[in-house]
Subunit: 545 residues, 2 copies
């Protein structure tokens, strides 16, 4: 914490200030847009962009992470808050803040309990399918705002303005950077300049509304933005706290996953080490701060963090700069913001989420591992068909299902001796010698509840085909751990073999595994022996036969 | 399916008939008792004991499994149906049947999709904690029935009858079998005889109610039992179908887990092979049959199956016998059943679930692996504090959490050469030689989304301590699979190392892994080489330096 401040050097300042400025320019339209996605007044998105990055700078572990509103988290917030506060914008704001408070508390608790390993719960294909599905849901949800009404009853001036803004933003995305480069800017500056297109389009929209006749044509705008800094906005019933508990767990989880996947990509570029437990604390504190300052759930955004990094951010001072600039914007007169036309804001959202439609992972998975491609598709369809919350659950279930499914097919080899040596190899791949009274099996996996049944069944199967075997030797060279379930299964196997007059022997048990087994009764009850090497086991068992 | 009927021999008949009879005698009080646990009229428990075992005999894979009502599944049914049909016994029956139909459909679907690996989702400690927690919840729930009223306002005659029955049943459990043995019965017959105590106590209770003054003292009894066979009992609103969907998934899952854990224990004793996919089909069909015959969710019961097995059951013919006997009992006059005092039925439930309070697994886990003991306790507390449905979710989360947590700490060894040999070993355990420009790492785990971050971090960490390394050799001898997430992480590592001028080399890649990698772009882009052996890699890399 604040390590970076101790070692701060003046050379870093220019980069941090310019990045802070650029991200602030990006944050104003983005914060308002993502508040809109969450079904909240746009100013809430700016509130949520001030305190969280300041707090994250104090507690987080990433140097360039930009914490604030993020599209998918806003979508999840809307999915939770919407049904609880239909047509009650005041209550919705309170509930959104409460959700941030609870998600933040969950993240802090997980951080204190050192549960950073939770970041490993999603495979990348599942994460990607979830992101793409959510992006489509968000874009679809913005269509009525973009067009000024539902699909059948769209409002011509709104739709013209919205689609115009959309066209400009798409053009800026495609040709903005090349154009700026042709105008003489450096490649990095051009890329950053192109990212400021949403701010320019928003300013253009405001100018059109105030200086032309558009304002009188019934186009919805953000409406009065209260000047002044954010404030506490928490008070609600017990029933609400209960209703928000499960969503807060899910949102906390996704806040962490989204932030980690972005931060990891950047840490790789900077050769930085990310500490997932610090990240949990940083994000937890940021969400609590968001809640206490009238915001809603926030997380690190990959796209914004990438701009922050590209614009020269060296330390979290850049985020502090962004926060100060946004606070300044709120203290200045905010009347002009009230005129921002909603169709333009919706256009910035649609273009932003189009950037999330990344199909590369699906393509890689399709070529490399169809089950991962299937997991991608199922998660994406889950979000589209069942909603974003159910999508998370589908994603976790698929990740875990794939894991257990793979674990349930452990590799087990029957070993034989390479003639004249001490080496034992898989008899399917080598010309290795076996003996009828000895069955030597090597299990190439850690033994745990997920594969214990498959291992038992394979052993019974091999015993059935090797009827003359009097000794079963399990070669444990690839087993680094045995959990309680597997221990009990081994004990049962031992009993069952004993009843059939077959010895159970263990060879090449690793040191840590042996230490554990000494705490159990398996070794005393073993109807067989322990051997240091497989060769040793076979020599001795042959002799005693 | 029906394999056993083809090979049926006359010698098996005696055992099957006697087991069928014994289990029927056990099933009558148990069926009624577990219907009571589910909050349904007792006769529903007998309905659920007729069609399901017949259908399971046709489709299931276990020879001695006794399928029918089971305490924990009844508790889960009550937890779902109770809140949806408060004070509406008719609707409760319809919903319970519907729940069985949906759970059955889920199980059938999982069976057709060959998802038997789902049985590996729970570790045994988690399963045991879940069972103990549920047993306590069930016993506590029966107290008001046992005492004839809530704790503060118990009804003296009811409580006397209930506690008397409880005492008798506990005595029968403790000393029934030894007493019968002293009377000259064989050990197996004595054990079985003792299991019939609940039927005797129930008959005694009925006799007391009909022939003494007890009947007039306000003790609740089962009330009129409609004679005749079960019938279809399905019709309900769309909202109910939707409300039952998630519970049906959970109940289907637990039905499968409960049945598998019991069947596995018996299959081990009989050296039988259990096919989990057939088991899914058998249980699914049994639940659908239960639903269509006015029953409620059913599963294989370990305690009943064990009695079935001990009483001599050789094939599913025993279960068919049981079903026929129960159907006969329903066709005979059922007036006498109406007098069965509920406190006596509650006493049989309390004694039955006391048998589920098995602490052996907790003890083993406590000595062997504290994290498994913790998972046991958390699941048990989860059921007690949050209810049986949330308990399942807590259990799955803990099993998966433990798994990911263990996976997130893979064993990785820095290897060195044993002087003068071709062997490479962990330098922490052997006096092995290393070279400053070569870093040789062996990852002792399959690479997948759960450990990919830990592996990357460890590699960065080792590179940081081996600043002079120009080549990183990953020894893949223990890696049997690489998923898409790990493939992408390897590509990123390759890019990152390339940028730093460090070569990434792979050695001892297994055949199946190599086949997979050929479908990706990693091998083309590899900033390094593939080597068959580690010795080979080191020799060549040293020469080219």
């Amino acid at each position: 914490m604040l390590q970076w401040l101790k070692h701060y050097r003046r050379e870093l300042l220019a980069g941090d200030i310019s990045a802070g400025l650029v991200v602030a320019m990006m944050m104003i339209p983005q914060g308002m847009a993502y508040a809109l996605v969450a079904g909240l007044p746009p100013v809430v998105g700016i509130y949520a962009s001030i305190a969280p990055p300041i707090v994250y700078a104090l507690f987080g572990s990433s140097m360039t992470q930009s914490v604030g509103p993020m599209a998918i988290i806003s979508l999840m917030t809307a999915a939770v808050v919407g049904p609880l506060a239909p047509g009650q914008p005041g209550l919705a704001g309170v509930l959104a803040a409460q959700l941030a408070l609870m998600s933040g508390a969950v993240l802090l608790l997980c951080g204190l309990l050192r549960m950073g390993f939770l970041a490993n719960f999603f495979s990348r294909p599942v994460m990607s399918g979830f992101t793409v599905g959510s992006a489509l849901v968000i874009a679809y949800g913005q269509l009525p705002i973009l067009l000024g009404g539902p699909l059948q009853q769209w409002h011509l001036p709104s739709a013209a303005l919205g689609l115009g803004a959309l066209l400009l933003l798409v053009l800026a995305r495609l040709w903005g950077a090349p154009l700026l480069r042709r105008c003489g800017l450096g490649p990095a500056a051009s890329d950053i300049g192109a990212k400021l297109a949403p701010m320019l389009v928003v300013l253009g929209g405001i100018a059109l509304m105030s200086h032309t006749g558009l304002g009188a044509m019934g186009i919805h705008s953000t409406g009065a933005v209260p000047a002044g800094l954010p404030h506490l906005n928490l008070a609600s019933s017990n029933a609400h706290w209960r209703a928000l508990l499960q969503p807060a767990l899910l949102i906390g989880f996704i806040v962490f996953l989204m932030s980690m996947s972005g931060a990891q990509a950047l840490a790789l570029k900077r050769n930085e080490k990310l500490v997932s437990n610090h990240e949990l604390i940083g994000l937890g504190a940021a969400n609590v701060a968001s809640a206490l300052s009238g915001g809603f759930p926030v997380t690190g955004s990959l796209s914004r963090s990438a701009v922050n990094f590209a614009a020269g951010a060296n330390t979290p001072l850049a985020s502090l700069m962004t926060a100060l600039l946004l606070a300044g914007a709120l203290l200045a007169p905010t009347g002009w913001l009230a005129l921002l036309p909603l169709p333009v804001l919706a256009a910035t959202i649609v273009v932003a989420v189009l950037g999330m439609l990344e199909m590369g992972i699906l393509r890689t998975a399709w070529q490399y591992d169809r089950s991962d491609a299937l997991a991608w598709s199922a998660t994406c369809l889950g979000v589209l068909a069942l909603g974003v919350e159910a999508g998370v659950i589908v994603g976790v279930a698929l990740s875990m299902g794939t894991l257990i499914w793979r674990a349930s097919r452990p590799h087990i080899a029957v070993l034989g001796r390479i003639a004249g040596t001490e080496h034992f190899r898989n008899i399917e791949r080598y010309a290795a010698e076996t003996q009828p009274e000895l069955l030597v099996l090597r299990v190439d996996a850690n033994l745990f509840f997920g594969n214990v049944e498959a291992v038992s069944q394979r052993i019974e199967c091999e015993l059935a085909t090797h009827q003359s075997a009097r000794h079963l030797v399990l070669v444990m060279s690839a087993v680094s751990s045995i959990d309680t379930t597997a221990l009990m299964a081994l004990s049962e196997l031992n009993q069952s073999l004993k009843a059939r007059g077959i010895g159970l022997h263990l060879a090449e048990v690793k040191g840590p595994v042996m230490d554990r087994l000494r705490n159990s009764t398996l070794l005393q009850q073993l109807h067989g022996q322990l051997f240091l090497s497989t060769a040793n086991a076979c020599d001795q068992l042959q002799r005693t036969k």
